[in-house]
């Protein structure tokens, strides 16, 4: 769980323009889709954080 919080914590540095673009990339109507489907958004965010953990373990395995 600590890793998941760390991933979210780093994301706080992302500029709002970049976050907006990420929403528009993931959803056809961007932020509007996020606001109208909050449960789906939370599910997607959870899946994204798990995916980040997978990537991190791969990178760390290779570097260390």
């Amino acid at each position: 769980m600590f890793n998941k919080i760390k991933i979210l914590w780093v994301m706080k540095n992302w500029p709002k323009e970049y976050i907006k673009w990420r929403f528009e990339t993931a959803y056809p109507n961007g932020l509007l889709d996020v606001l109208s489907n909050p449960i789906q958004f939370l599910k997607d965010t959870w899946a994204f954080i798990n995916w980040c953990e997978n990537i991190d373990s791969k990178i760390n395995r290779k570097i260390n």
């Binding site: 500029p15 993931a26 056809p28 995916w51 980040c52 997978n54 990537i55 791969k58 990178i59």
Partner: protein, 302 residues
């Protein structure tokens, strides 16, 4: 030490942010030192605005990703009006990615962008998107079409003309050769591999379009093989891409023949990681007494 020249353009870094993974390029400049990138490639620009495919259109698959975003973008008019000016102020070079449904569309988009006041250094021609119904990959699988498209675009611009290839073909080196002979300045290889994701419990597809493009670390060995094949066939520079996650991965791509590399899916994890790859690559070069990236390019073949 990390600079690289393609045609008459000198890049101060061999690392490029891949199209579709870094916004239009200006969204990240506040928190990333863009001067450590050779260039940023914009999201692919189409003639008309596109919402892209319905959700779900991105699925994380182990340490890779499968997507069917479908070229969501603002369209060429809005791009020229709203994006070009801020891109001109970036602390690195930028390349405009363009995608069309017909050769005429590619011509029209390139002409419009060429007439804007953009100081972009070139174009990456996306003939390899697997996630649109018309155009995209249809162009990239046929040597005659690649040749005809490249030749027509070559007549329109003196800026860098980079052709981005799909790996979903029988012989990618033939496609690369046809682009070279028609006047391309460089080849980007490779775009995503066609794939599918399904929920084993429900039997439901995990992307709305059934098929999507697989990217990220699982495709790296496949991408390296494609770059190797192309390197043996052509003599224009290759910009290698496909699953790069660490600086070691970039070196593997240089050694099989890439002059520069693009980083894509990793940017979805954290767009600042691309800068740390530059730093680590720089350290490696110093520590191992390499004076130039060119010392590494293709030296697997020696």
């Amino acid at each position: 030490m990390l600079s690289m020249k393609i045609k008459d353009v000198i890049f101060n870094s061999p690392i490029i942010a891949a199209s579709g993974t870094f916004g239009y390029g200006n969204e990240v400049e506040k928190f990333i030192d863009l001067s450590k990138l050779g260039a940023v490639i914009t999201k692919s620009i189409t003639l008309h605005p596109r919402e892209g495919n319905p959700s779900p259109r991105i699925h994380g698959s182990d340490s890779g990703m499968i997507n069917s975003i479908g070229l969501a973008n603002v369209g060429v008019e809005k791009f020229c009006k709203d994006k070009v000016q801020s891109l001109n102020n970036l602390k690195t070079k930028y390349i405009v990615s363009i995608a069309g449904s017909t050769i005429d569309e590619y011509v029209e988009i390139l002409t419009k962008i060429d007439r804007s006041n953009g100081n972009h250094i070139g174009y990456e021609i996306n003939i390899s998107c697997p996630n649109v119904k018309q155009g995209g990959i249809e162009f990239g699988v046929n040597t005659d079409i690649v040749s005809s498209l490249t030749r027509q675009l070559r007549q329109l611009t003196q800026k860098l003309l980079i052709i981005k290839l799909t790996p979903n073909v029988t012989d990618i080196s033939e496609i690369a050769l046809s682009a070279q002979e028609a006047g391309a300045d460089a080849i980007s290889a490779v775009n995503t591999f066609q794939g599918l994701a399904i929920d084993y419990k429900t039997g439901k597809m995990l992307l709305s379009t059934t098929f999507g493009g697989v990217s990220g670390s699982p495709i790296k060995p496949l991408a390296l093989a494609k770059v190797h094949k192309i390197y043996n066939k052509i003599n224009i520079p290759i910009i290698g891409m496909g699953g790069i996650c660490t600086f070691e991965d970039t070196i593997e791509f240089f050694r099989v023949g890439s002059s520069m590399v693009q980083i894509g899916t990793l940017n979805y994890r954290d767009p600042s990681l691309i800068v740390s790859i530059y730093d680590r690559l720089n350290e490696f070069m110093l520590k191992n007494n390499f004076s130039s990236i060119s010392d590494l390019v293709g030296n697997f073949h020696n």
